[in-house]
């Protein structure tokens, strides 16, 4: 175990102090597919203290091109994603307390599933579920690292409750596109690229480098390759009902 984290501790902004903060921190990853699974793996390898995994699904053959936590045996054995992921992540780093929760994020469990965590990573696969996740994070005051991916593109943004725009400020009509728009296509490297950026933003928060966190919305296109940063001064905190505490999806109270 000696020197296990030496190389990342030698990265100045991280250091031993950051590593110690990370060891005492806890993240929840909601959805452990292409985005959340890869991000969870990076956090476990980095030595995060606690990792709660939330996902209702089972590994499928059409997951394996992008979902790095799962292998063929997991598909054949019909183990749940959180169960297979827990086995794998513990094999990577037994110091990480992995907490599997085989549940879908719902209005009645959202607050409980996120409570007690230092950061939330969005690995969901629909706009509707993301709106719920956004509301729950705002209500609990927990930073949310959002990523989304489809085809060969996606976007990244970090919601710091009360300190900047939330998901709904950026997407006021937050909703799923009509069926057929994306046809569910996605390439593996697009998912792992967005997930890697997402894990990096979470790690900045967890090692205590909040001032380095992404401000604005990063739009990533891989095919052809283009990164655009919308560092939009017109989009302020409080610009939407959710930021003002008007939650459409969470239970009242």
């Amino acid at each position: 175990m000696d020197g296990r984290y030496a190389r990342q501790e030698r990265f100045g902004p991280w250091g031993q102090a950051g590593q110690e903060r990370l060891r005492r921190a806890k993240a929840v990853v909601v959805g452990i597919g292409g985005l959340g699974g890869t991000a969870a793996m990076l956090l476990a390898r980095a030595g995060l203290g606690g990792l709660r995994l939330v996902d209702p699904d089972y590994p499928a053959w059409d997951n394996l091109h992008r979902q790095v936590l799962f292998n063929e045996q997991d598909v054949l054995s019909e183990r749940s994603k959180v169960e297979a992921a827990t086995t794998y992540l513990r094999s990577l780093n037994r110091a990480v307390a992995v907490e599997p929760r085989q549940e879908a994020l719902q209005p009645d469990n959202a607050l409980e599933l996120l409570a007690g965590c230092d950061v939330v990573l969005d690995g969901l696969d629909s706009a509707a579920a993301r709106q719920l996740l956004n509301e729950a994070c705002l209500k609990l005051g927990i930073p949310l690292v959002h990523a989304g991916v489809t085809q060969a593109q996606g976007q990244l943004l970090v919601v710091l409750p009360g300190q900047g725009p939330c998901l709904r400020c950026w997407f006021p009509r937050l909703s799923d596109p009509p069926q057929g728009w994306s046809a569910g296509g996605v390439i593996g490297p697009a998912a792992t690229c967005l997930a890697s950026l997402q894990a990096t933003e979470a790690l900045k928060l967890l090692v205590g480098a909040q001032e380095q966190v992404l401000r604005g919305l990063l739009a990533v296109e891989l095919w052809p390759l283009r990164f655009r940063l919308l560092d939009s001064p017109g989009n302020q905190a409080g610009g939407c009902p959710a930021c003002r505490g008007e939650y459409d999806l969470l239970p009242v109270g």
Partner: protein, 72 residues
């Protein structure tokens, strides 16, 4: 005959010749960029969807149209 006035606008990094007075909403249609959760930035400022109809483009404007992805 007075030819309709054109303006030059940079859309997603590419210069486009557009009719003067075109609204953002009309540009979105013209670019076939309709998406319920489209994110629009005009000259570095976020534009709320409620303002697409009333925001008119000017010579030299820069517009970014971002289609968000909500898969995982």
């Amino acid at each position: 005959m007075h030819s309709p006035q054109e303006i030059s606008v940079v859309v997603d990094g590419f210069a486009e010749r557009l009719p003067a007075g075109l609204s953002l909403a009309a540009l979105i249609l013209r670019q076939q960029a309709q998406h319920k959760d489209l994110v629009v930035e005009l000259n570095g400022r976020f534009v709320h969807p409620r303002d697409y109809e009333t925001t008119l483009l000017d010579q030299g404007d820069r517009v970014e149209l971002i289609h968000p992805a909500f898969g995982g």
